[in-house]
Chain length 216, copies 2
DNA sequence: GTGTACATGTAATCCGTTACATGATTCC
DNA sequence: GGAATCATGTAACGGATTACATGTACAC
């Protein structure tokens, strides 16, 4: 119970010269499942799966990571020849890349705490500045969006289940599906809290508990 | 001269030229609860509360945001005079700042989707590259950490409940508490999935009851 | 013949972190 | 005297986004 005050990040790993950032490993991971792919394809795949539990980098970022991976020798690329219709660059993971990724994936030290930034809850936190209706509407919008996302995750999981080697992606997507379900419940509960508070504030004089002591 | 600047977020907001980023609003929000505060104090408060549902910026970032807020006229600061022991700069929200924050807090357009980056699930997604034990240990570590965080959120909520005007922060922290509970359940479920997969792989024909590890 | 998807990439810029520099105060 | 905490700030840099530039292929 000492120290650890102001700094909010875990230990930095140096020593090994140039380790890719997490995003780099994620992109290399994408490459490790499927063979030769273009940056564009990777982006689409990230959008339809990776983003649910991690994040989907901007396309320009994917291109940048691919270049870095290639510079590190973890991937190779080739331009489509004249025979192919479109000018594309297809990347493949190398043996060194697979080894590095495996070593990374098998590390036993802390992968890092999840990062959760919830703009809606931030707004609720400042709820005293907003109209109650605004807040309610915002939460309801969030619920709607989450329902939509939930469908997408489920579809992604269902698609992944058809591929025999994708058992781990299926687990990750299953996690994500439950996570979205939880998110819905969380939002409903918050809505109830908000309503309870609004009700308590409206009837502060009669039979409600004194001074907004909200009971759960 | 710059009338039609492209602002920093999706929409082009006319009128006010420079809107702070979300973090700026969060810092201004911190300021809106309590009076004159130093950057250092704000950081500690963010660490003990804001970080659970949004994020705790680095101290240098807080100082930077405070300067920006002051440049925008949303906050004022004064240096401690010679009478005070320590050289400090205390910030106060201005009337303009309170108006701007209120307008922001009461906006009805989408506050943005929550950002969730889960390095642990990313690792599970690449589980085929790791030893089963590594993965299990990682998930268990995560559960331990989450339990610790849960205690902290609960404490934060309990502390906040003692302040009458903090009803909305209490709701935000209550949300966060449930969120941590859900995170725990999610991790347990993933552990079970992982065990099931490992068992299935060991004995390729037999799907056993959800007892956990089945040795042969 | 126009719109959409495919496809790659550069430049500017911002957000945010870490490392560093500095110094006062408090408590042992 | 030394450690921890309080307190403020700068510099370097990296990660990531958006906007822009460019062009092909295909469908309606």
């Amino acid at each position: 119970m000492t120290s650890c005050q102001i700094s909010n990040k875990q230990e930095i790993r140096q020593g090994d010269a140039a380790r890719p950032p997490l995003t780099g490993w994620a992109v290399l991971g994408l490459l490790s499942f499927r063979g030769e792919r273009t940056g564009y394809e990777l982006k689409k795949w990230a959008d339809s799966s990776l983003r649910f539990f991690y994040w989907s980098p901007a396309i320009s970022q994917i291109y940048a990571e691919l270049r870095r991976l290639e510079a590190l020798g973890y991937a190779t690329s080739r331009r489509s020849g004249a025979e192919e219709p479109r000018a594309t660059r297809r990347y493949t993971i190398t043996e060194a890349g697979r080894r590095a990724l495996t070593a990374w994936a098998d590390e036993s030290d802390d992968p890092g705490a999840p990062v959760l930034k919830h703009p809606l809850v931030l707004r609720v936190w400042l709820g005293h500045l907003a109209a109650p209706d605004t807040l309610r509407a915002l939460v309801e919008q969030h619920i709607e969006r989450t329902r939509g996302e939930l469908k997408e995750v489920r579809d992604a999981r269902l698609r992944a289940e058809r591929v025999a080697e994708w058992e781990f992606p299926v687990i990750a997507l299953g996690w994500s599906e439950r996570q979205h379900l939880a998110e819905l419940e969380l939002a409903e509960a918050m809505l109830a809290d908000l309503d309870r508070l609004a009700a308590a504030r409206r009837g502060t004089r009669d039979d409600s508990p004194p001074d907004g002591a909200v009971r759960r």
